[in-house]
């Protein structure tokens, strides 16, 4: 058999599959067979490369050529030009947004230069449905090391010394969590992986499960060994069909190879993993609600204590960790606590995966060392703001977090700095906003989300958030008052103080942080009925300039609600009470006689 000369890696993540990357894989394979190259070139469907903005992504190894937005019909050109003739397909190369130059080596892309991929180490590198590729990349090596050489106490100590903190949002020290679960004595214990990723715009957990499911299974087994559990449960939302499928394949393969199951590698330790599906409720990311949902009860949180480490799933001690946290465990144990704790800031060690979304050039998934600044993330890795517009704010921590502005751009990102700046790490969603985004509307968007997602168990969250949303609605409609702004702040504080779980305790954060950083926008909406970003429709007024209007009637014919009156060849006028601000008239007017105020 001829030696493999090329690996063609094609992203098989949810984003790229939606753009038919699986058909591209088929076509590439067909083309290779057609040209008798199928034994020299291997096509590999991998997990997410992170560069979702320009999917589907194709990377050619060994020259690291990075093709973007590749359609299934480009297969022929890639094979004939790149593989056979050695010429890069220039039109598919990534174009740097700053220099407008095509870059033909992914190592030269700003997007990847500053990244350090630990949790995402295998995403976009291996075929997640082939355990052998994972094993070649040291999957289950940490588990074997632990089972052979280390006691549970030593493992826990190693993780404590590494300084790894929970990546799901709270940032609780992982080693300590395991220690508490270990100390609670019981014959039955459970390891739970929280894959209920509910934060709008965040998709790192999904990508890890889709790109490197064995990392999570291995870490769960290690956790089981440490706390004395023989059963692992992955709580995953049914909205992630591809991640579920890859997990099922991974579990089946790991069982077949004897890497999970009875008496793993003849160590005497047994551990098996099962899946539990969630219906996709935000509150089920909270660990007590998650456990209730797994038990078949309503997904409602309960009062802590008792903590899950004492009484969790079916009343047994349970350790719940997030997907990204688990993905960090094997590298920590392979490379040692010192290696891990050398990365990051004083109190936040290691790296963090962020999902970049919103008005940013390179929408996607990135992993950077803790302590990287927002400026580096947004303007270097993220490639800056779309359309050359001005940066306004970035929302971190999703609906529980807050917004950070221009003045926060140079703070090193870590758990504590973000809290001090009035936001939070959360699961790592970053929604970037430009000058055309209204901060009041942004807060309203998140409140709309929390109102929908509140489980309704406690009154402050169930009723209070609804009232907050109504006040924001009045502000954006220009029907509020200054007194109501005070009431808004008050209500926010009451909800924060009195809600039962994290959802209610953090839901007013988007309002509080926008009121702090963009107070003037709130006042403008209330006092001047003005939205400077021009996004609050009710505050917009389309007007006809008398000197420019020739009375052509084009606008009145375009108006869907007949809000424009006027005779032929005479000045027209817009009836503001009927106008729905659709902008159709402005589009139709050939004389630029209609303006927006």
């Amino acid at each position: 058999m001829a030696e493999i000369k090329y690996d063609i890696l094609v992203c098989g993540g949810t984003g790229c599959r939606a753009s038919e990357s699986h058909r591209l894989v088929e076509n590439l394979r067909k083309e290779l067979i057609l040209h008798n190259l199928d034994n020299e070139v291997k096509v590999v469907a991998t997990g997410c490369f992170g560069f979702c903005e320009k999917g589907p992504i194709v990377k050619i190894i060994p020259d690291n050529t990075f093709y973007t937005q590749v359609s299934p019909w480009d297969a022929n050109e890639i094979v004939e030009e790149h593989i056979i003739k050695g010429r890069k397909v220039e039109r598919l190369l990534y174009v740097d947004p700053k220099s407008q130059l095509g870059i033909d080596d992914s190592k030269q892309m700003d997007f990847y230069k500053k990244q350090l991929r630990i949790a995402l180490r295998n995403c976009g590198f291996i075929n997640p449905e082939n355990i052998e590729e994972a094993i070649a990349r040291d999957a289950y090596a940490a588990l074997s090391k632990v089972l052979e050489y280390m006691t549970p106490e030593e493992v826990i100590d190693e993780i404590k010394r590494s300084g790894l903190r929970g990546r799901g949002g709270g940032g609780f020290p992982t080693g300590l969590k395991w220690e508490i679960a270990r100390k609670n004595e019981s014959n039955t214990k459970f390891v739970v992986c929280n894959a209920d990723e509910g934060d709008p715009g965040a998709f790192m957990d999904r990508s890890i499960l889709e790109g490197d499911p064995h990392a999570v299974l291995e870490a769960m087994a290690i956790c089981g060994y440490c706390i004395g559990a023989s059963k692992g449960l992955v709580y995953i939302r049914a909205e992630y069909p591809l991640a579920i499928q890859r997990l099922k394949v991974a579990i089946a393969q790991a069982r077949e190879y004897g890497l999970i199951g009875e008496n793993i590698m003849e160590s005497g330790f047994s551990f098996d993993v099962e899946l539990r599906y969630g219906a996709g409720a935000f509150v089920c990311g909270e660990e007590t609600a998650l456990i209730h949902s797994m038990e078949g009860l309503r997904g409602e949180p309960s009062v802590k204590p008792p903590f899950p480490a004492e009484s969790g799933y079916k009343g047994f001690p349970t350790n719940v960790n997030n997907v990204e946290t688990f993905a960090n465990i094997p590298p920590v144990l392979m490379n040692g606590a010192e290696w891990f704790s050398a990365i990051g800031t004083e109190k936040s060690k290691g790296t963090k995966v962020f999902a970049l979304a919103g008005k940013i050039n390179n929408v996607g998934l990135i992993e950077v060392p803790m302590g990287t600044t927002l400026r580096e993330v947004i303007f270097e890795i993220g490639g800056g703001i779309k359309g050359g517009k001005k940066f306004k704010a970035v929302q971190t921590g999703g609906p529980s977090g807050g917004c950070l502005t221009e003045k926060h751009l140079d703070i090193p990102i870590d758990f504590d700095n973000l809290l001090a700046a009035g936001s939070m790490m959360g699961s790592g969603g970053m929604i970037v906003m430009d000058e055309n985004d209204c901060m009041v509307s942004m807060a309203k968007f998140f409140l709309d989300f929390t109102v929908e997602e509140s489980c309704g168990k406690c009154a402050p969250c169930r009723i209070g958030n609804k009232r907050l949303y109504e006040i924001l609605n009045r502000i954006t409609a220009g029907k509020s008052s200054l007194a109501e702004l005070d009431a808004l702040t008050n209500l926010c504080l009451v909800i924060k103080d009195t809600s039962l779980c994290g959802l209610g305790q953090t839901s007013p954060n988007p309002i509080l942080s926008t009121m702090k950083n963009f107070a003037e926008e709130y006042y403008e909406h209330v006092e001047e009925h003005k939205c400077r970003a021009g996004s609050c429709k009710s505050l917009l007024r389309y007007q006809i300039i008398a000197d420019e209007c020739v009375g052509c009637t084009a606008c009145s014919r375009a108006c869907p609600v007949n809000a424009i009156v006027g005779e032929r060849k005479q000045l027209h006028a817009i009836n503001q009470t009927i106008c729905i601000k659709c902008g159709a008239c402005m589009e139709k007017c050939k004389f630029n006689a209609i303006v927006l105020n």
Binding site: G86, E90, Q100, G102, I103, I135, A136, S267
Partner: protein, 136 residues
């Protein structure tokens, strides 16, 4: 597939599987491995560059040299095809001309493994553009 019964089994399997993804591992850190680029333009191919490339890939793998063998376009030395550029970690690239499989063997044995230069070096009269960028 039989079950992995012992920790040793896992290690053996891992070492055996590693070769399947070596090409990807090496491409991750191209500067730390031997980089061989074979000019595969029309004139290079007609002069036998494909055989030479196959030889490099097979031979370097056999001798377990961590390396990346890639093809590149015309280097401009059409009189000396097939041409091969070899870059050892941390060193300037060197271009060899008139490379057939015998010459390739010599390059691997003398230059790549023992860092001894061999005949047939084309004097470098160009500089690599650091970021191989092109305007589209």
């Amino acid at each position: 597939m039989t079950k992995i019964k012992t920790l040793d089994d896992l290690r053996k399997l891992r070492d055996q599987l590693k070769t399947d993804i070596t090409i990807r591992e090496s491409a991750e850190h191209p500067d730390s491995v031997v980089q061989v680029r074979v000019a595969m333009s029309t004139c290079g191919i007609s002069a036998g560059a494909k055989t030479v490339m196959d030889f490099f890939i097979a031979e370097l793998k056999k001798r377990q040299v961590k390396s990346v063998v890639a093809q590149t376009g015309c280097m401009g030395y059409c009189y000396a095809e097939p041409t091969v550029e070899v870059r050892l970690p941390g060193q300037e690239p060197i271009v060899f001309g008139h490379v057939d499989t015998r010459k390739a063997d010599e390059i691997i044995e003398s230059y790549i493994l023992n860092h001894r230069l061999v005949d047939g070096i084309i004097p470098v009269n160009y500089k690599l553009v650091e970021n191989d960028n092109r305007r589209i």
